[in-house]
Assembly symmetry: C2
């Protein structure tokens, strides 16, 4: 590894860069193993001897580095054996809504919330999420990290929500402060569930598409729930 490669990898800590590149960074043995078992394509692995020695099969391009160099490349507080460049996925066509329950994120801006929603969706078997362009984006390192590996299994696609929501025949549910209790609602397995911005909720231009407002009944005094917590409660209420 030369100095330019090191600088290149370090540059992923900055938004402009991770947003523009065709690859992203994955770190740590556990997540790397999940990537290797998935259909995601690894461009290159940088790993310590400890990690390389533990591999029985290793088809991806790889390079031996030491802990000091790993520490300089890593974005983790505790760098852990291995770091890899993985190719982003680009869907050629919009996600099909048929036969799927789809989450729709309208301006969820906190990367931790978006990542946690992806992880929660994965727990409940939801396979796809549509996000507005102003939501925190999948390849934001903080989003990736919060998914705890679930980004490998849940498709996340940026779409114009107004277009998406006006061109299909499935029921659209929306998490609102006023609506039918989720505990008394059975959502359609082919439906869409819109989750709104952390402080502003679902936007006015999206509201006309919400044919089924649902709500989590409030038994205390908090004014709202965290977006990821609300998503988890709504998905759990359907099981």
């Amino acid at each position: 590894m030369n100095n330019n490669e090191l600088k290149y990898i370090q540059s992923f800590a900055h938004k402009k860069h991770w947003d523009q590149e065709s690859v992203f960074i994955v770190e740590g043995p556990k997540l790397l193993q999940e990537v290797m078992q998935s259909d995601w394509v690894i461009e290159k692995i940088f790993a310590t001897k400890e990690w390389l020695d533990a591999q029985t099969v290793l088809n991806a391009p790889h390079e031996l580095i030491d802990d000091i160099l790993l520490g300089r490349m890593s974005q983790l507080k505790q760098p852990n054996q291995v770091l890899a460049l993985v190719h982003k996925k680009h869907d050629a066509s919009p996600l099909a809504l048929q036969g799927q329950f789809t989450l729709v994120l309208d301006g969820i801006q906190d990367p931790g919330n978006v990542g946690t929603i992806i992880r929660t969706a994965d727990w409940f078997g939801i396979k796809q999420i549509i996000v507005s362009a102003d939501s925190a984006q999948l390849y934001n390192p903080k989003v990736l990290q919060s998914t705890m590996g679930s980004f490998l299994r849940v498709k996340v696609q940026v779409q114009n929500l107004e277009e998406t929501l006006s061109n299909h025949l499935f029921p659209v549910y929306g998490a609102l402060l006023n609506g039918r209790s989720v505990f008394e609602t059975k959502m359609d397995k082919e439906g869409l569930l819109v989750i709104g911005n952390e402080s502003k909720g679902i936007r006015q231009n999206i509201m006309p598409f919400i044919k089924h407002p649902i709500t989590i009944p409030n038994f205390g005094a908090a004014e709202s729930l965290n977006a990821a917590v609300a998503t988890g409660i709504i998905l759990a209420s359907q099981k």
Copy 2:
């Protein structure tokens, strides 16, 4: 306001300081209004003319400042009209477990998770939370902020969990990966619910006290749920 006062307020951004002081900082008109309507004691309010002019009654000590000074005092990205020093609350005695459902946090270290759990508890009418000494602490500014004001209504007390859990007669539930489904469990209204560390779960020394292991069934492939999401789902499952 003199330069020493400014430096004092700025110092709250550092852990050592907010941990040691008898007061903490609250910012913004909405939260200030909630504090003024609560039984928490305000030491001093620093506010812009805009905020002061909007008050009909103002019994707390206060000082007029301009936006530039507010910007220098504030820990927010977008300082908002008012900042106040509020006295911390110290409970003279341990929280009573009788007649209450109590959350117990065993080493929840992410401040956002602890704050979101407090907010979620408040939504579901839970009035008290016991936290281990190594959990993120209430007066950590990131915890306070994540509660969205719920810290005013939910009591949070640090206790030695082993002592607490060995000295009472109420059922102890624990959120685990293996246990009875929360959807098939009716928790006692006078029970305790232990939530474990984000990556390690409930610690070994606490496990003997968990008489009722409960779990959120997994319908997908994620290995775990975020601690705050799990708490929300469990509390919602009882409604």
